[in-house]
Symmetry: C2
Subunit: 241 residues, 2 copies
DNA sequence: TATTATAAGTTGTATATACAAATAATATGT
DNA sequence: ACATATTATTTGTATATACAACTTATAATA
């Protein structure tokens, strides 16, 4: 773990020092740490080198900096960082093993709950699509998409059985921002049917809700359902050794 | 969205340009982008300024760089970035509304599946604790922890009803690395009981598995169960406007 | 032809410097 | 005592330079 034959750069040494001070609680959260200049002096490097060490820890959220004031140890994060959740459909597409099936595609009046999430008025007309995504021939995701009609007026005129509507929408209005939410749900009977889940199969699904934004408006809202016990969602913890 | 009265720094301008080229597919994944020097020349800035723009995009995984070769547009990520999952227990602790209840605390022989995950031999003695975490008086998490005995030999001698064993373990062997995995599960009868879930309540739980590493060894493995429909796990999607 | 040096190109690290911008402490004036 | 300037401190941006480390292309050699 240690025996590197390569020279450790100086900014990395300072970084290690800072991390150590924080991890061993020598420097408590909220505490002000030495200035860039002071670090540069003690480690006999230029300010820019010391700065890099500090900056990289700030980028990771370990330190917070404010111009004119100083650099402080960040309060302990209350969120689990970077839980890598795989986009199973993207993986399937990358492996050229993806197919999709359009269950329904209509223009409907939006319900109030979805309207609120999309920033639209209730009863606005939106496109509503139900899609099942397959890995080879096995369903891996059930998806319902609501689309802002004014931002993709020609959606239903596309050959949606050929082109995944998600791809079309991504191409048409490239998402600037994306929102996610995750929860565990029980699938409805029809969802179970469309996901081809038998009685023996798990009763649980991971439900991912997603909003795509273009500028300041939501252009699509999706609910995506994944069979829970499958290996698809979440990184498998690898065996040690 | 635009009308900033502050001057936009030059590295940000270059960053924007690069992002635009990538987002509009002008530069496809895998394509080599202009060198730092070339960017510096076209934007009439120093190489270090151009470098910063490139570097920050590389830090975000949008570009990949290899010394001696060049900088390339990264292949499309197949994982959903930065899904912010709150650590509900940490939040409860921050609000000073956290209590915990030790259900059991023993030394047991490890089963083969857990042994594999912890990198230990089957039948090794480990500490096994079952803990329920409360927000004020409501259970928000059921937790089972397996602890490498050699790394925390005095664990069971602590006043575990006073000090959360997680805090003790964090203090004793500060985790260098952490692994997570997430899935949806149905709680067992006893888990439901300990989480005080009634028949009317949701049948689903989000299960988070976590490994804490110290150097190259796993020192604890936890399974944490959260009632699913609660607001605890995952960021609530906010209403627009 | 195949192998091995050599050179050129590109990113990585580091320095010394300068000024801008925000904050915090001090001095000033009423 | 209070409000207002002024100054000092600290981080943010930017430049020009130098050399190290690595990759790739080219030239030299067997």
């Amino acid at each position: 773990m240690e025996a590197k034959d390569h020279k450790i750069p100086q900014f990395a040494v300072i970084k290690q020092y800072l991390e150590q001070q924080i991890n061993t609680q020598q420097w408590a959260p909220g505490r002000r740490i030495p200035t860039e200049q002071s670090l540069a002096d003690t480690f006999s490097v230029s300010r820019m080198t010391a700065r890099r060490a500090v900056q990289e820890l700030a980028d990771r959220g370990i330190l917070t900096r404010t111009q004119g004031s100083g650099t402080y140890v960040a309060e302990k994060s209350q969120s689990i960082p970077n839980l890598p959740i795989k986009d199973v459909v993207a993986v399937a597409k990358a492996e050229h093993s993806h197919k999709h099936k359009i269950i329904s595609a209509d223009a409907v009046q939006i319900t109030s709950d979805i309207a609120k999430l999309m920033g639209l008025q209730t009863d606005t007309l939106v496109f509503q699509l139900t899609v099942v995504h397959l890995y080879v021939d096995r369903p891996i995701q059930w998806q319902k998409i609501w689309v802002n009609r004014s931002m993709a007026p020609a959606l239903l005129k596309q050959k949606l059985d050929k082109v995944d509507p998600n791809d079309y929408l991504d191409w048409l209005c490239r998402p600037q921002k994306t929102d996610y939410q995750l929860k565990a749900v029980l699938p409805t009977a029809s969802q179970r049917l469309q996901l081809m889940l038998s009685q023996q199969d798990t009763l649980n699904c991971m439900q991912l809700s997603r909003r795509h934004w273009s500028a300041d408006a939501v252009f699509s809202f999706s609910i995506m359902l994944h069979p829970a016990e499958s290996y698809y969602l979440g990184d498998e913890l690898k065996e040690v050794q």
